[in-house]
C-alpha cells in the first residue's frame, strides 16, 4: 500500500507515524519565509538609508543573518518550524522522529547553499523528486526529515445513541472504521450512509435498510465507552 507515512518503532514498542512533506508544500513554506524576510529587510533598509554607508553595511549584515541564522534559530527554538513552515503546518525532525537539534539544523541550512544551485533550488528539487522521503541534499546530510504536523486533535464527535454491543468481535482497525463511520456520518446523505453500512454485512445482516446506519452508530457509541 502506497502512502506518505513513515513509521518509527520506539524502544517502548510504540509506532510513531510521520507524514513526510513533499516539494510543493515545502516550496510554499519557503516562499512565505522569503516574503517575511523581504519585508523585514525592506522595512529596516528604508530606515537605515538615512545612515548612508553604515546603514548599507548594517542591512547587509541583517540579510546575512536572515539567510543563515533565521532558519536555524526558528527550527531549533520554535518546534522545528520557521514562520513559513508553521503557516504550512510543516515541521523539521530528525529521521528518528526526535526534535531537530542545533547540529542537524545548522548542517541542513548550510547545505542549503548546495541545494540552491544552479538556480533557486534546482538540485534540491531534483533530489526531492528522486527520494522517497522527499529529502533535499541538506536533509540527507543532516539526517533530518520534513513532516506535516498533526492538526489539533478534534474531540470525538459521535452522535450519541443507545449503545449496542457489536455482534461480532472486531479487530482494532475494524473498531476504528466503525468509529470513523459514526464520526463522519453527518457528512453523508442517508442513502450513502446506508450504502456504506450495507458493506459491513456481519454487523448489519437482517436489519432493514433504513436502520443499518443507526445500528452502526449505536455500536460506535458502545466502542467509545458510552454505556
Amino acid at each position: 500500500m502506497l502512502d506518505t507515512l513513515r513509521t518509527i518503532p520506539t524502544p517502548e514498542g510504540i509506532e510513531l507515524t510521520l507524514k513526510v512533506a513533499g516539494p510543493v508544500p515545502r516550496a510554499a513554506a519557503w516562499s512565505i519565509d522569503l516574503m517575511f524576510r523581504l519585508i523585514i529587510v525592506l522595512a529596516v533598509q528604508a530606515v537605515l538609508a538615512a545612515l548612508g554607508k553604515v546603514g548599507i553595511g548594517i542591512s547587509m549584515l541583517l540579510w546575512f543573518a536572515l539567510e543563515w541564522i533565521y532558519p536555524v534559530l526558528f527550527e531549533v527554538l520554535w518546534q522545528g518550524a520557521t514562520p513559513g513552515k508553521r503557516q504550512c503546518h510543516l515541521r523539521v525532525l530528525h529521521e528518528d522522529g526526535t526534535p531537530v537539534g542545533w547540529r542537524a539544523s545548522v548542517a541542513r541550512n548550510l547545505i542549503r547553499a548546495v541545494d540552491f544551485l544552479p538556480f533557486c533550488y534546482g538540485f534540491g528539487l531534483i533530489t526531492m523528486l528522486l527520494n522517497r522521503d522527499f529529502k533535499r541534499l541538506g536533509d540527507l546530510a543532516a539526517g533530518t526529515i520534513v513532516v506535516h504536523t498533526e492538526r489539533a486533535e478534534k474531540p470525538l464527535a459521535i452522535p450519541s445513541a443507545e449503545p449496542l454491543i457489536p455482534n461480532v468481535s472486531l479487530a482494532l482497525w475494524e473498531q476504528r472504521a466503525l468509529i470513523d463511520f459514526a464520526e463522519r456520518r453527518a457528512k453523508w446523505s442517508d442513502a450513502r450512509a446506508a450504502e456504506l453500512a450495507a458493506h459491513a454485512l456481519p454487523l448489519t445482516r437482517g436489519v432493514s435498510e433504513g436502520e443499518t446506519a443507526k445500528r452502526l452508530v449505536r455500536m460506535a457509541n458502545y466502542l467509545v465507552g458510552r454505556r
Binding site: 500500500m1 502506497l2 502512502d3 506518505t4 507515512l5 507524514k19 513526510v20 512533506a21 513533499g22 516539494p23 510543493v24 508544500p25 516550496a27 510554499a28 525592506l42 522595512a43 533598509q45 528604508a46 530606515v47 538609508a49 504550512c88 503546518h89 544551485l117 544552479p118 538556480f119 533557486c120 533550488y121 534546482g122 538540485f123 528539487l125 531534483i126 523528486l129 522517497r132 522527499f134 506535516h148 492538526r151 461480532v168 468481535s169 472486531l170 479487530a171 482497525w173 475494524e174 476504528r176 472504521a177 470513523d180 463511520f181 463522519r184 457528512k187 453523508w188 450513502r192 456504506l196 453500512a197 458493506h199 459491513a200 454485512l201 456481519p202
Partner: protein
C-alpha cells in the same frame, strides 16, 4: 474501478498531504508513467519543432499549450496503476484515440486551458465521464474540499518548471570552460538575435523540464481528487467494512481449512527456527530485529489468516542477510588500514600532477588584421531610474509610517496623561450598567436619602431600596477604591467592600460601619428584588437615615447631565428581568 483494488492507503488527508501522495505515486510508478509520457510527448515535440523550424519560439508555446492533451495520457496510466492494473505501453498507445476523442479535449485546449485547477478537474472529465451540467455539479461538490489547494498546486508547479528550466541553462554555463556558453539575460526574451541553435537548445531544455515535472503535477491533481472523494464518500470506511466482511466470512467458513492454515503456520515457524539456529552468531548480532512471530502469540482464530508475519521468502532473506553480515565482519577485520596513505602518495607522485606545458598557437596579425571590437555594454541607466523611483517611494512610505506611529504614540500618551477631551472618559467611572441597573451618576436624583424617603412615604418600598442601593454602587465606583466589573454578583460587591474598607480604616473611624451598612442594604435589596418579600417600612427607615453617613455622590458638570431616568422603570425592568 473497485475500491478494493486500490493500491494506495485510503485515509482522510489534508489536501497538501494529498499533493505529496500524488508525488509519491508518480515516484512509485515512474516506469510506466514516464515511458508512456515519453512515447507520446517526445515524438510530438520533435514533430512540432520541425514544423516550426522557422520560428522555434512558437514551438515552445504550442507544446506548452498542448499540455492538457498529454496530461490525459499520464492520467490514463496513473488511474490504471492506482486501481491495480499497470497498463503496458501498447495498451496506452491503443487507448490514445479514445483519450483524445470525445474527452472534452477541444474545450481543454481552448478556454479550458486557463483552468487553474486543471489536473484536479481532469479525473472528473476522463474517469467519471462527466459533461456539461454534471461536470459543473461535480466540480462544485468536490471543489469545495480540494479546489484551493489544486490552484496553488498549479501555481507552484509552474514555478518549479521555470526553476528547472533556468537550472538547466545555468548548469550548462557552469560547466562550459572560459566564457559562459551564452549570455542569459532578459534581452533574450525579447530580442530575436539569438542563434537558431541556441533557440533549439532552449526548446530541448523546455521539453526535458516539462517531461520531468508534468507527470508529478497530474499525479498530484489526481491525488487531491481521490482524497476529496475519500473524504466526501467515505471510501476508507467502505474499504474497511468490506475487508471486515470478508474476514468474518473467511473465519466462519470451515474449520478444516483453518486447521490447515494453522499447520502451515506452525511448519513455517519451525522452518524459520531451524534456519536461524544454523547461524547463531549472526542472530546474536541481529537480535534487535523482529524475531519471527510464533502462531501461539496470535489470540483469536480470526487472525489466523494473517498469522505468518514473516513470509517464507522473508525468513530466508533475513537468515541470508544475517549470514552475509557475519562474513562481512570477518573480512573487515582482516583488511589492512595502512594502504591509503601510500596510495595517495603514489597518485600525487604520478606525472599528471605538477606538470608544466608550453603550448603554441599561430595567428595572423599582418595587414588587414582587425582586433575584435569589445562587446557593447548594455545601458542600464533606465533600471537605475526605476530603482531610484522605487527607493523614493519606499522612503516616502517609511516617513508616512513613522508619522502614523508617532501620531498614535502622541494620542496614547495624551490619553493616559488624562488630557480632557481625549479618549474614553467613562473608563474612570467603570461600567454604566450593573445588575441591569443604570449606575451613571446623572441618573440619580440630587438628594438621594430625601428621594428615597419620599418614595417610601408614597408606598413604593421597592423603588426606595433600589434607589439607595443604586446610589451606593455609584458612590462606591466613584470612590475608586473598588473595582466592580460587569459580571460581578451582589455577593462579590459586598466582599470587596468588606476587604477594602475594613483594612483601610482604623477602629473607631466612623466609616468602620460602612461594610456592615452596605451588606445590610444588599440584603434588603435581595429580599425585595429576588425573593419578592414584602419588607416593612421599619426595616428600610434606618437604611435611609444612615445612607448619607457613608456615601456621597460627586456630580459631574451639571451642564453635561443627561435627564435622569425615572427609577421606577429601572427597578421594574430589573425585577421583570429576573435578576
Amino acid at each position: 474501478m473497485r475500491v478494493e483494488d486500490i493500491a494506495i492507503t485510503l485515509r482522510p488527508r489534508s489536501t497538501w498531504e494529498a499533493i505529496d501522495l500524488g508525488y509519491a505515486m508518480a515516484q512509485n510508478w515512474w516506469k510506466p508513467l514516464f515511458s508512456a509520457w515519453c512515447a507520446v510527448y517526445l515524438p510530438a515535440a520533435l514533430l512540432i519543432n520541425l514544423a516550426c523550424w522557422q520560428h522555434p519560439g512558437i514551438a515552445v508555446f504550442v507544446l506548452w499549450w498542448l499540455k492538457p492533451a498529454f496530461d490525459r495520457v499520464v492520467l490514463h496510466v496513473l488511474a490504471a496503476a492506482t486501481f491495480g492494473a499497470i497498463s503496458s505501453l501498447r495498451d496506452t498507445l491503443h487507448a490514445l484515440p479514445r483519450l483524445w476523442w470525445n474527452n472534452r479535449l477541444a474545450v481543454s485546449l481552448t478556454y479550458g486551458r486557463f483552468d487553474f485547477a486543471r489536473s484536479f478537474h481532469l479525473p472528473m472529465i476522463q474517469l467519471e465521464g462527466a459533461r456539461g451540467q454534471d461536470l459543473r455539479k461535480r466540480r462544485r461538490v468536490l471543489g469545495r474540499e480540494g479546489r484551493g489547494a489544486a490552484v496553488w498546486l498549479t501555481i507552484i508547479c509552474l514555478h518549479l518548471e521555470v526553476t528547472l528550466i533556468a537550472s538547466c541553462y545555468l548548469m550548462v554555463n557552469l560547466f562550459s570552460p572560459g566564457d559562459p556558453a551564452f549570455q542569459l539575460s532578459w534581452q533574450m526574451l525579447f530580442n530575436a538575435e539569438v542563434s537558431k541553435g541556441m533557440q533549439f537548445f532552449g526548446n530541448a531544455v523546455n521539453v526535458v523540464a516539462i517531461s520531468v515535472l508534468e507527470p508529478f503535477y497530474v499525479a498530484a491533481g489526481f491525488a487531491i481528487y481521490l482524497n476529496c472523494r475519500t473524504v466526501i464518500e467515505g471510501w476508507d470506511v467502505e474499504l474497511a467494512f468490506k475487508k471486515m466482511s470478508s474476514r468474518v466470512h473467511e473465519a466462519t467458513r470451515s474449520t478444516t481449512t483453518m486447521a490447515g492454515q494453522w499447520m502451515a503456520c506452525i511448519a513455517l515457524a519451525f522452518a524459520a527456527g531451524f534456519m536461524l539456529s544454523n547461524v547463531p552468531e549472526a542472530w546474536a548480532q541481529n537480535e534487535t530485529t523482529t524475531p519471527p512471530q510464533s502462531p501461539e502469540s496470535t489470540q483469536s482464530p480470526e487472525s489466523a489468516t494473517m498469522c505468518p508475519k514473516l513470509s517464507p521468502d522473508e525468513v530466508v532473506a533475513q537468515a541470508g542477510g544475517a549470514l552475509e553480515q557475519a562474513e562481512g565482519a570477518d573480512i573487515k577485520s582482516f583488511t589492512p588500514h595502512t594502504g591509503a596513505a601510500d596510495a595517495a602518495t603514489r597518485v600525487l607522485d604520478s606525472k599528471e600532477f605538477g606538470q608544466y606545458k608550453d603550448s603554441w598557437k599561430i595567428r595572423y596579425i599582418g595587414p588587414g588584421f582587425k582586433q575584435k571590437p569589445p562587446p557593447k555594454k548594455y545601458d542600464w541607466a533606465w533600471l537605475k531610474s526605476v530603482i531610484d523611483f522605487f527607493a523614493q517611494s519606499v522612503r516616502m512610505l517609511a516617513w508616512i509610517g513613522v508619522a502614523i506611529v508617532s501620531a498614535g504614540l502622541l494620542y496614547l500618551i495624551a490619553r493616559y496623561v488624562g488630557l480632557s477631551g481625549w479618549g474614553r472618559q467613562s473608563r474612570k467611572f467603570g461600567p454604566e450598567m450593573l445588575f441591569g441597573l443604570d449606575i451613571r451618576p446623572e441618573s440619580l436624583p440630587d438628594n438621594v436619602p430625601h428621594a428615597a424617603r419620599k418614595l417610601l412615604d408614597d408606598g413604593h418600598p421597592r423603588e426606595s431600596v433600589s434607589l439607595l442601593y443604586r446610589a451606593a454602587l455609584v458612590a462606591l465606583i466613584q470612590d475608586g477604591r473598588i473595582e466592580i466589573g460587569r459580571g460581578d454578583t451582589e455577593g462579590e460587591c459586598v466582599q470587596r467592600v468588606r476587604r477594602v474598607y475594613s483594612i483601610q480604616h482604623e477602629p473607631g473611624n466612623f466609616l468602620e460601619g460602612k461594610p456592615d451598612y452596605f451588606s445590610a442594604l444588599v440584603k434588603q435589596w435581595q429580599r425585595i428584588a429576588y425573593a419578592r418579600e414584602i419588607v416593612s417600612a421599619a426595616d428600610i427607615e434606618p437604611l435611609i437615615e444612615q445612607w448619607a453617613i457613608y456615601f456621597i455622590i460627586n456630580r459631574a458638570d451639571s451642564a453635561l447631565r443627561k435627564s435622569p431616568v425615572p427609577p421606577h422603570s429601572i427597578v421594574a425592568a430589573s425585577i421583570r428581568g429576573g435578576r
